[in-house]
């Protein structure tokens, strides 16, 4: 009976573990389906990005930001966020509001929230300004 050399057995074991890890990494990925030609007409705005954490920016990406008005004169912001990784990731985000005079508006809804995204998932986060004086916003992300 011919025995398999130990080095080959070791390599086989490493390969098997790699396959298991790779498969489990993909297990939480999200497949999504949508209308081929979207009927929605979002008011997408141009945004400025200040990146100080490249690792974070490589994990979660803001695809687009669109805005609308609700309850007559309150600004609503919605950001489409994508997980660039193949595994579930959690990040914290916060919206801040700025008034016409450039002053930050202390708002009750300026809270850090935890966002959990499955692998390669795209989702939206949104907020509504609680003051009609809010004209600008800032969206922050942190690990």
């Amino acid at each position: 009976m011919k025995t398999i050399p130990q080095s080959i057995r070791l390599a086989g074991g490493v390969l098997a573990i790699g396959v298991v890890l790779f498969a489990s990494g993909c297990a939480s990925n999200v497949n999504s389906y949508e209308r081929a030609e979207s009927q929605a007409a979002p008011n997408v705005i141009a945004d400025k990005r200040v990146i100080t954490d490249n690792t974070l920016a490589g994990t979660v990406r803001v695809v687009s930001i669109n805005q609308g008005t609700v309850s007559g004169n309150l600004l609503k912001i919605q950001a489409t966020v994508e997980n660039l990784r193949n595994s579930t990731r959690s990040v914290n985000y916060k919206f801040e509001w700025i008034g016409e005079d450039g002053m930050a508006l202390d708002s009750a809804n300026e809270t850090w929230k935890t966002l959990t995204l499955q692998g390669r998932e795209t989702t939206t986060i949104s907020t509504v300004a609680v003051s009609p004086r809010a004209v600008d916003f800032r969206l922050k992300f942190r690990e």
């Binding site: 609700v70 007559g72 609503k76 300026e110 809270t111």
Partner: protein
Amino acid sequence: MKHTVTSRLLGLLAVGAMLTFSGCETATETRTVDAKGPQAINTSAINSQDWANAADQLLNSLLSSNALNNAPHTPAILAVDRVINNTQLMVDTDLLIKKIRVALTNTGKIAITNTMGLGERAVVASEAAELDEMQSGKKAKILVPDYTLYAKLIQQTDKNGKIAQNTYSFQMSLVAVKTGLTVWEEEKQIAKQTKGAGAIGW
């Protein structure tokens, strides 16, 4: 020679004992953190960040629904109705309601009456109105609310082996007084899983 080894051993023991006892004497360290931030201690209960998030989500839903656009006048008068706490937690429901009140008042679309509704604020405001009536001899004009706000907190606990999950539901309804119709309703949930017997979530 033997004496030297013994003294060295004793010295080591003394150092070990000192390190052990100094470990027990660690000074209490307190730091200020953002109550609405991720540094807030996470427990199986509702923490400060959860209250803020629940209030934020409910507010976003109410304002996005445009329900206040049909108010008979601006600002619309709102009375805060009962807040029922059906959780196992002894919590002050103002942790939720106050955040909603502040935010709604800031929008300029709502003015909250204190002469109706429950709670100490309503009692004081009612007594003040009565006193004013007695002193002026004129019937105090009390504004009838356009809307009432009703809220309920519910807790559901599920267990699977060593994992316990507490799901907290924050339900809120806005009712138009004249019609009795609910013009806005929302339910937001926060689920927290705790592994093991400890109370700290992860």
